[in-house]
């Protein structure tokens, strides 16, 4: 009959894996796993980037493109940055602001009027996205001056109180109460002489 030995007396195999080595092995395995998963994630990102024109555009066009522009002109003033988006409308609005008093009520052409389609030399007043400012937009930039669009004739009592007329590519002279000797294409005139 075999004798059952208790575990206390059972001979043990010598420990060929000391604790420090096990711990080091675990850390190494953990690092390898981390690197494998990170590499896998990078592969996924790369595959999405390579196979999607639109996600590439998000990175290169939308974000990097604008970021590079910002890096190129970091000291651009507010006016200069506005001009990047609104084009020649910005110096035109600044001109009106300089030449009219704060109490002025200015007649402006209605948005989308034909006059905006005519360009004189490089002075194109359409915004980059082909929309022209409404009277809200004029009010935003010319405050406290008030701006009334020509298509509001009869709708607002302010129409009869207009003090100045915006001249846009020749539009506006018809609203002046006098003849202009040397008309210019873009500017602002008082309504009455």
């Amino acid at each position: 009959m075999a004798r059952v030995t208790s575990s206390k007396n059972r001979p043990t195999k010598p420990d060929t894996h000391p604790k420090e080595f096990k711990s080091t092995q675990n850390i190494a395995a953990w690092i390898v796993k981390q690197l494998c998963v990170a590499a896998g994630v990078l592969v996924v990102i790369y595959l999405v980037y390579e196979n999607s024109r639109i996600y590439r555009w998000v990175h290169t066009g939308l974000l990097m493109g604008n970021y590079e522009l910002i890096q190129k002109y970091p000291q651009a003033t507010y006016q200069q940055r506005l001009e990047m988006k609104l084009g020649a409308m910005v110096p035109y609005l600044n001109f009106i602001k300089e030449k009219t008093p704060e109490t002025a009520i200015i007649l402006v052409p209605p948005p989308g009027d034909e006059c905006f389609n005519k360009t004189q030399q490089e002075f194109d007043l359409k915004q980059l996205n082909n929309n022209t400012l409404s009277s809200y937009g004029y009010a935003r930039f010319l405050w406290p001056r008030r701006c009334i669009s020509e298509n509001r004739r009869g709708e607002t009592p302010l129409f009869d109180q207009i003090t100045h007329v915006a001249i846009v590519n020749g539009w506006g002279f018809q609203h002046l109460n006098y003849e202009v000797e040397k008309p210019f294409y873009v500017g602002v005139y008082p309504k009455n002489k």
Partner: protein, 454 residues
């Protein structure tokens, strides 16, 4: 003064969120603070103006400080022990992986470029110059809401901007009052807060890897990212709308009352940002209605609906008292059947879903996730309420566009309005994509694989 003022907004939101509950995670609190703070501050601005103090930094700051003091006293009286326990508890750091840090680095880099772009270019988009930014600017210059020239029909023609809810406009007023040259600090901080909040809400239901992957892909939705740095209201509205529904789902899933309340509050702000947000509210109401029938009690439905509609109802009454009006309503109030219009909207919606230049792979990945999880959806092991609220609010949105007059033509309205309205659904779709059963199993397996063995 600008940064102090924005910090005040953040602190106001932080105190209010903690007053609601101390149990939100730190990422949720960080994300919610500016989002809740800004909306709350716009309500205080309406109050300040209504009480005759006008819109100025002093009156808004004093009211904000009063609210913060009241909230602080509440916290001190009723939550002192809880705060003490929270502070004394050792912070628990989740086990984060190299992959997670890599993805975080990508998000930080992309958002840095987006944030910089937002603050560099002034407002130029048409909607903002025709409405939101101009209204905000004029209210700041004239220091009044009620008597602002923007609402005067003697000056401006009757249009819908006059009766629009005023969250965005008043938010812009705040930064203009603080001396900012451009109002886009609001847009920049809102989107940043939103990214943090979205991640925090995902972490409530899934592992860090799925959460950060979902946040990244949601963030880079092309048209939504592009509009996040513009001054139009669409992305800000989408933040309130989507997080409102997500928190409603979290309440169904985890049963924590704080989620119910924050959901209702975000829904109220959703409609305060844009009246069309009622379609999103309809989604939440539908889900709560189904739940009410199942549980045979309607208390939660009534409370949630009342809170969601409270701000809009108050503004509707106030704008009538102030005499704000628009030319004519563009809602058709009688029922009718127009097959051409119906199919026009339906076909356009389907075409939109397929537009990867607007929404990236969002709708495609969502469709795959739905099909792949079909079994679990049928067995109700999926985030069922989230999907139900999506379907219901889509239906409400469809009805809304069907019952609208399209003065510029149906196609123009859909192209300009519906295309950007769908931003409200993008975060919800990515929330589902990151949190469904199969994604969970896959990402959990990866997380488990990369965990350290002992």
């Amino acid at each position: 003064m600008l940064y102090l003022g924005l910090f005040l907004t953040f602190v106001l939101g932080f105190v209010l969120v903690n007053t609601l509950s101390l149990k939100f995670s730190i990422t949720e609190k960080l994300g919610l603070s500016f989002i809740v703070g800004m909306a709350s501050q716009t309500l205080l601005m309406v109050l300040a103006d209504g009480l005759g103090f006008g819109l100025n930094v002093a009156s808004i700051t004093i009211l904000s400080l009063l609210v913060m003091t009241a909230a602080g006293l509440f916290l001190f009286k009723y939550r002192r022990e809880e705060i003490r326990t929270m502070i004394s508890r050792k912070p628990e750091f989740p086990s984060l992986s190299l992959a997670w840090f890599l993805l975080l680095g990508i998000i930080v880099w992309l958002e840095y470029m987006n944030f910089t772009k937002c603050l560099y270019f002034p407002t130029f988009d048409r909607d903002a110059l025709d409405g939101y930014d101009t209204f905000g600017f004029l209210m700041a210059k004239e220091q009044t809401l009620r008597h602002c020239s923007a609402f005067s029909t003697d000056y401006f023609p009757l249009n819908q901007y006059m009766i629009y809810p005023q969250l965005i406009q008043l938010a812009y007023t705040w930064v203009y009052l603080l001396g900012a040259e451009l109002s886009k600090h609001i847009n920049a901080l809102m989107y940043l807060s939103f990214l943090i909040l979205f991640y925090g809400s995902l972490r409530r239901v899934t592992n860090p890897l799925a959460s950060i992957l979902g946040t990244l892909f949601m963030m880079i939705t092309p048209d939504m990212l592009a509009w996040s740095s513009m001054s139009a209201l669409n992305v800000i509205h989408a933040i309130y709308a989507s997080m409102g529904l997500i928190y409603l789902f979290l309440w169904f899933k985890e049963g924590e009352r704080k989620d119910f309340w924050i959901s209702a509050i975000l829904m109220a702000f959703n409609v305060w940002a844009r009246a069309d947000g009622l379609a999103i509210v309809a989604g939440g109401v539908f889900v709560l209605l189904v739940d009410s029938i199942r549980r045979k009690q309607a208390r939660d439905l009534m409370i949630w609906t009342a809170v969601s509609l409270s701000v809009y109802a108050a503004w509707s009454i106030l704008s009538k008292v102030y005499g704000f009006k628009m030319q004519s309503s563009f809602i058709i109030t009688h029922l009718f059947w127009d097959q051409e219009k119906f199919m026009g909207i339906f076909n356009y919606m389907i075409t939109l879903f397929a537009r990867s230049d607007y929404y990236g792979w969002t709708f495609y990945v969502f469709a795959v996730a739905l099909v792949a999880n079909g079994y679990f959806i049928v067995k109700r092991k999926e985030p069922f309420q989230l999907l139900l609220s999506l379907v219901a609010s889509f239906g409400a949105l469809f009805v809304m566009y069907y019952q609208m007059e399209h003065w510029g033509g149906l196609e123009l309205t859909l192209e300009s309005s519906l295309k950007r309205y769908l931003f409200c659904y993008i975060p919800i779709l990515w929330f589902y994509i990151s949190n469904n059963t199969l994604t969970d199993k896959l990402t959990e397996a990866v997380e488990h694989f990369q965990r350290r063995s002992h």
